[in-house]
């Protein structure tokens, strides 16, 4: 490098910096600062909504001793496992079903994804109407079929079922939509060759569709797991965590801790626990996706 080139390079660097500056400012203001501030507050107790005193790691120790928090984790875990499993199965199955030539296919596909655009909190309120126990539409339908009324919102078990039903209702279309897009992107010549070779539908699905879809299914699973762990709107609008704490999911518990009880230090610590859990899931699934791609490469 000669002396004449140096200023030119520096100018290029400045231009690069100029272009990445907005992203850096964005990340610093909206990601880094809140994260560091949350970390800071997690070492303090609060009183009257203000920082009160430094308490060291007390808020993090409380994570291990708080039965109510453990209940929130348990409720969330059960919720995540059941709803995401159902959404994956239903969404993928519906995508397979509509990934074929049939009359009105486009209309059906468009209608299928509509719940995705509804606000989750509105879905929760809609749930109150649907699951209303005295002459609500679902219980009225059950009565017409000769079944007894189900205590959807007043029984701990059924209230849990109710929030799961609403969540599956809302998010199955997401799995459907992405799966369908991926299915349509699969190379048709492979399937034509398999058909020529006499492969049955099941064999085509087992040997071609599923292996080709595996990476995208892992990705969908990752997105749904991360979202499901953060579930808040539906249980909050539908049951407020009740009866008792039967549907008090982790995010609702943290919300109460922070914005109802103003225990911001402890809420911050809870936030870091959730971050840890979600990060672990992301890491595990990314590793799985990498493995899938490596196997394909090999």
């Amino acid at each position: 490098m000669n002396a004449a080139e140096a200023p030119t390079l520096r100018k290029t660097d400045r231009t690069k910096l100029f272009f990445i500056l907005p992203a850096v400012v964005w990340i610093v203001i909206f990601t880094l600062f809140p994260l560091l501030y949350a970390l800071y507050t997690s070492f303090f107790s609060f009183r009257f909504g203000r920082l009160n005193q430094f308490v060291g790691g007390t808020n993090f120790v409380r994570l291990f001793t708080d039965d109510n928090l453990h209940n929130g984790l348990r409720v969330t875990l059960v919720f995540v496992v059941i709803t995401v499993t159902l959404q994956m199965l239903l969404g993928f199955s519906l995508a397979l079903l509509l990934n074929r030539e049939m009359r009105g296919k486009n209309v059906l596909r468009a209608l299928m994804v509509l719940p995705l655009f509804a606000t989750p909190v509105a879905m929760g309120y809609l749930g109150i109407t649907l699951f209303y126990e005295i002459n609500g539409p679902i219980n009225a339908l059950l009565a017409a079929l000769g079944w007894g009324a189900v205590p959807w919102l007043s029984n701990p078990f059924w209230a849990t079922v109710a929030i799961m039903v609403i969540d599956v209702w809302q998010w199955t279309p997401f799995v459907f939509l992405v799966s369908l897009a991926a299915l349509q992107g699969l190379p048709p010549d492979l399937f034509e060759a398999a058909e020529v070779d006499g492969a049955s539908s099941w064999q085509s699905f087992r040997q071609l569709t599923l292996p080709l879809m595996t990476p995208i299914l892992w990705l969908i699973l990752l997105l749904r797991l991360v979202e499901a762990f953060k579930v808040f709107d539906i249980p909050t609008s539908l049951t407020l965590g009740g009866p008792g704490r039967a549907t008090e999911v982790y995010s609702l518990f943290t919300y109460r801790t922070a914005l109802r009880f103003f225990d911001h230090g402890y809420a911050s610590a809870q936030g870091f626990l959730l971050l840890l859990i979600v990060s672990l899931i992301v890491a595990l699934i990314f590793r799985q996706i990498r493995t899938v791609y490596q196997e394909e490469g090999n």
Binding site: Y132, N135, G244
Partner: protein, 544 residues
């Protein structure tokens, strides 16, 4: 065949998904309730009745020139979301023009959901933003608001004798609710809503000779307005399953609202009071003032919760998921014989759409025949029913932020709404959420009002008399339930609310639920500082 099955299955799924998409946006709004249908309005208000046209009179004259002492100023009030014809918020819309004309100020009304109100207010105050000049606050917030030095004492404004502000008389407010307006011997709230729970009963059913005879045969004594919890239980049991409104379907003995977050804990407070409070124990209910050790696990509390849970069988199972609006609607449709709740219900029963106008009796909460004296550690018998008055609820009233730019204008607004002429009309109406608690609301000889006012407002005479007498007796009772007003009150009550729900839905026994409540109370107290909490608790009870 398989193809047909899958096609059918997909159509069904599709139908369900489309239904959700089409219905979602309409759900949260208040809906006119159909018979037996759902009511969704944040659970705060009844919806089977119409608001009516009765409006309070204009009492403030329009100002001119320099008399407009708030010219170019803005007063911002934050209030629970309920709309222009909704509880607590509605009267602000009514008074806006009058207030603006009288002062020159602009009134901005900010409605926020109940759950967001306190967090928004406290955030505004802790950051010193001063966005809100006044909040129509719950009385239990005073522990946090005064403790944090966030609101102004109002004595200076109240005692102003220059005629600058509309006059209202704190002595007109009955002693029970009056106590909630002051904190640490200073006035911090301007009288508005006066909450307390009384028992409502279907007077037509209790006066029915057929029911009287059948009840006497079944229980061995005359059917009468319940004086004790046992009589309350008997009446609830007797009426449960009978058709109470002539629609040919069985109805319920009682109705309550026990959804988590649906203010069920207030039911427990009103209900438990006579099991614990008595002549020898006027104050010990929440904490031991010497140690701040929670008292919720006492035998009196346990029996109260067991008794309350026992009553659940005489109400609709759905009430475990109900907020108060849904419970009120159940009574207003004539589907329950008994309930205990706030003053709103008695007034709502008079409005168009109610099926129980002229059939709604009211009386103070039933008592017990023995209570557990915590200090003595023993049950004590009483000669007559041990009845305890209560001010449970929010008693929503205005506080003025320390960060307000226009505290004098703000006080003017709150005082204007507290004037007797307006307060009287608020008390007549059910929809506005402002409940009675002043001598000027009560009929002679208890108070200064007359039946004519109530009749003109569309009341049934017998209902009005029973209603005002019940509130006069409740707020004037010699023994009063000790209202909790310390920092963290909402957190303590939330713990109680959740554990009550657990007990009511069979997840825990009554004693386990209360033991868990004690555990939560201790954790909250330790976190907020036991000594400081104790100091404030003693002060709030006036035990210094």
């Amino acid at each position: 065949m398989r193809k047909q099955f899958f096609s059918l299955f997909s159509v069904l799924i599709l139908f369900a998904l489309v239904l959700s998409a089409c219905g979602a946006p309409a759900a949260p709004a208040a809906q006119p309730a159909t018979d037996g249908g759902p009511v969704v309005d944040e659970g705060q208000a009844a919806t089977v009745v119409e608001a009516g046209e009765l409006v309070p009179p204009v009492v403030a004259e329009a100002c001119e020139g320099e008399a407009c002492f708030c010219q170019d100023k803005t007063v911002t009030v934050i209030v629970n979301t309920a709309g222009e014809k909704g509880p607590i918020s509605g009267p602000f819309y009514e008074v806006r023009d009058e207030f603006q004309a009288a002062t020159g100020a602009t009134l901005e009304i900010v409605e926020v959901p109940f759950a967001e109100h306190f967090p928004k207010l406290l955030t505004d105050m802790t950051t010193g933003t001063g966005q809100y000049d006044t909040s129509i606050a719950g009385a239990w917030w005073l522990g946090d608001l005064v403790g944090g030095d966030y609101i102004l004492p109002l004595d200076e404004y109240y005692n102003d004798t220059t005629g600058k502000y509309p006059a209202w008389d704190i002595e007109d407010v009955q002693q029970g609710p009056r106590n909630l307006l002051t904190y640490d011997n200073k006035l911090h709230m301007v009288g508005n809503d006066h909450d307390g729970q009384v028992m409502y009963y279907r007077s037509d059913l209790f006066a029915d000779p057929a029911h009287q005879a059948a009840f006497k045969e079944q229980y061995g004594y005359d059917l009468k307005v319940p004086d004790t919890m046992q009589e309350f239980r008997d009446a609830a049991e007797y009426f449960n399953g009978k058709d109470l409104n002539g629609d040919g379907t069985p109805d319920n003995g009682l109705t309550m609202h026990l959804k988590v977050g649906g203010q069920g804990m207030f039911h427990f407070m009103s209900f438990a009071a006579p099991f614990v409070i008595g002549p020898d124990n006027p104050n010990l209910f929440w904490f031991d003032p010497a140690t701040m050790e929670p008292l919720m696990g006492s035998p009196g509390h346990v029996r109260a919760m067991e008794t309350l849970i026992d009553l659940v069988q005489f109400g609709p199972e759905a009430m475990m998921g109900w907020s108060l609006g849904e419970s009120w609607d159940h009574f207003l449709r004539g589907q329950a014989a008994l309930t205990f709740t706030w003053g709103d219900l008695g007034a709502l029963a008079q409005q168009e759409g109610s099926q129980v106008k002229g059939k709604t009796g009211a009386a103070p909460m039933p008592g017990t025949t023995e209570y557990y004296d915590i200090a003595a550690g023993e049950w004590k018998q009483t000669e007559s029913a041990n009845k305890v008055g209560n001010t449970t609820g929010g008693s929503w009233a205005g506080v003025i932020s320390k960060f307000s730019d226009a505290p004098d204008c703000t006080y003017y607004l709150l005082a204007l709404m507290a004037t007797p002429a307006k307060s009287e009309v608020y008390a007549y109406r059910g929809w506005d959420g402002v409940d009675p608690g002043r001598f000027s609301h009560y009929l002679e000889p208890n108070g200064t009002n007359t039946i004519d006012g109530y009749l003109a407002a569309g009341w049934d005479a017998a209902d009005a008399e029973a209603y005002t007498n019940a509130y006069f007796a409740n707020f004037g009772a010699e023994m009063q339930f000790p209202y909790l007003r310390i920092p963290g009150t909402f957190e303590y009550w939330t713990a109680l609310d959740i554990h009550l729900s657990e007990a009511a839905t069979g997840q825990r026994s009554a004693s386990d639920a209360l033991a868990a409540t004690v555990e939560d109370f201790n954790a909250i107290t330790d976190r907020l500082g036991r000594d400081l909490q104790r100091e404030i608790y003693i002060k709030s009870l006036g035990l210094e």
